[in-house]
Symmetry: C2
Subunit: 307 residues, 2 copies
């Protein structure tokens, strides 16, 4: 199915204002959640801030806020979920950059955490950020029932663990130098990035005290497709962009002999796939009319960034 | 205050039977919680089992079970808490053994996780074990109210994070080669090992749906003192035992210029301190008569192991 996202009217100014506001909101929430470096252990707290603040598009937080909004949840009720998914994401980047993993010196245009500090500190930063994510998502949140919040903790833990994000990373490591086909590559990404992206969107719905409704199934299909689309776009950007634009070492995956959507499908087909995934993502949402605008715009934002 | 633990009658056979039964129970619970290696990603799941199973005295699980029993909670209601604290402990050992941290090749008499597998796998094992701990402690547990269970998640996350265990590890790293005094050493251990030991005991009480009672304050004093005693004893064992008895590299801390209770206080005073901490631990419990027997015996078990 060819992409036809031009048919969907997007009031970009309004959406861009929303994105900017929610990014600011996320920065503020993270800022107030992270212990200040004045609190001991000082270097660890400084390094945690370094790893989390001042960078990133906060896609996962935006997904949480947008799906919360889709279910009529006020932003303040989704703040903890949005921060928690960003903390999990930030921890995964710090650990992924370590020498024993991707060995990347650059992240978001700055030295990666273990280069700015040291490996031991970066290891503990990741560990402590994961704990912090569970700390804030288990704090009492006004408007959310405790049994639903427990389900939120469980969803986030499952998405982060060996059958989610950490498992995807293990599959990724095992795939270096191997000739994966598209199905195997998809399997890896469904875990590595897809699980947390899906959790981000679903957590937004859980904030409305719903864990089983038509809307959650719509958001689930949306999130799973957009999670894959996100990775396809990442591979396209990695292939096309230079290091300065990307803020991390460009072409790294191809160079280290990691399979990507571009190496497997070629650039043209990879772009088509991103469009198809976009269409599949928004398909269950269009029936909701303007209620689903944010999510649809966000899908476009994710699949069309920088190209 | 000199130790006087001989005055407390301990029916050791009964206690040893209890310890053995609860250790077996913990092994079984962990066994059924860990994904089998038949499930992908296979190597990660194999390595997670390797890191968790077949070793360790399960002190933290025993503390959870004993304090649950102290509050009249059946063991099955404390299983998830007991497993969760052991998973957090196991993850911390895997990460602590990594070359960028303590660089230890041996753990519980076997090659440490990164030696048996590789560094990247060990990193992911630790990450995924932490997630798994939060996964199982957020599963609905019959008999525990959801709002109490949320508090359990929060307690465990706080105890694991930058102001708990991970923070203690950071303080430990920063202290290498420094002349700490007893207060500074205590500060480090209150975080590094004390926080999780305290959480283990408190979680047992939380399983009774109490988070604020006379009993919880008693368990809190008990757990904080026994947490420190545990470390003092560890330092004594590290100083006295050989590698074979210890199951990990003996004398490693002193060798790597890390301050220990023995290097700061000397062996005689360190043993006295362990006794004083034992007495302080059991002080608030004795009023409960036979109800607190398990906890008191456990305190003795912890402070008198192997010397």
């Amino acid at each position: 199915m060819p992409i036809n996202s031009n048919l969907i009217p997007i009031p970009m100014n309004d959406f861009q204002t929303w994105v900017h506001a929610k990014q600011q909101r996320t920065e503020h929430a993270l800022e107030s959640t992270l212990p200040t470096p004045e609190i001991a252990p000082h270097i660890l707290h400084e390094a945690m801030r370094y790893a989390v603040m001042g960078g990133g598009k906060r896609i996962r937080a935006l997904l949480a806020y947008a799906s919360a909004e889709f279910c009529g949840v006020p932003a303040e009720q989704a703040d903890n979920a949005a921060s928690a998914v960003e903390l999990i994401h930030a921890y995964s980047l710090v650990h992924d950059d370590l020498p024993c993993m991707d060995d990347d010196d650059l992240r978001r245009g700055k030295p990666s955490c273990h280069k700015r500090f040291d490996e031991a500190t970066a290891l503990l930063v990741g560990d402590a950020l994961q704990s912090l994510a569970f700390q804030i998502i288990s704090q009492p949140i006004e408007g959310i029932e405790p049994d639903i919040q427990l389900k939120m903790v469980h969803l986030l833990a499952t998405a982060s663990g060996s059958r989610g994000m950490a498992g995807g990373q293990a599959i990724d490591l095992a795939s270096i130098g191997k000739n994966l086909n598209q199905t195997e590559l998809e399997h890896m990404h469904i875990h590595k990035t897809g699980a947390l992206i899906r959790a981000s969107a679903l957590l937004g719905v859980y904030c409305s005290n719903q864990t089983n409704s038509q809307k959650i199934h719509a958001v689930d299909q949306f999130a799973q497709s957009i999670g894959l689309a996100f990775q396809v776009v990442d591979d396209i950007l990695d292939n096309e962009a230079d290091t300065k634009t990307l803020g991390k070492t460009a072409g790294k995956d191809a160079e280290s002999n990691k399979p990507t959507y571009v190496t497997i499908l070629g650039i043209v087909r990879a772009k088509e796939l991103a469009s198809e995934l976009f269409n599949h993502a928004i398909e269950p949402l269009v029936q909701y009319g303007s209620e689903s605008d944010r999510l649809i715009h966000l899908a476009k934002f994710i699949t069309q960034r920088n190209f």
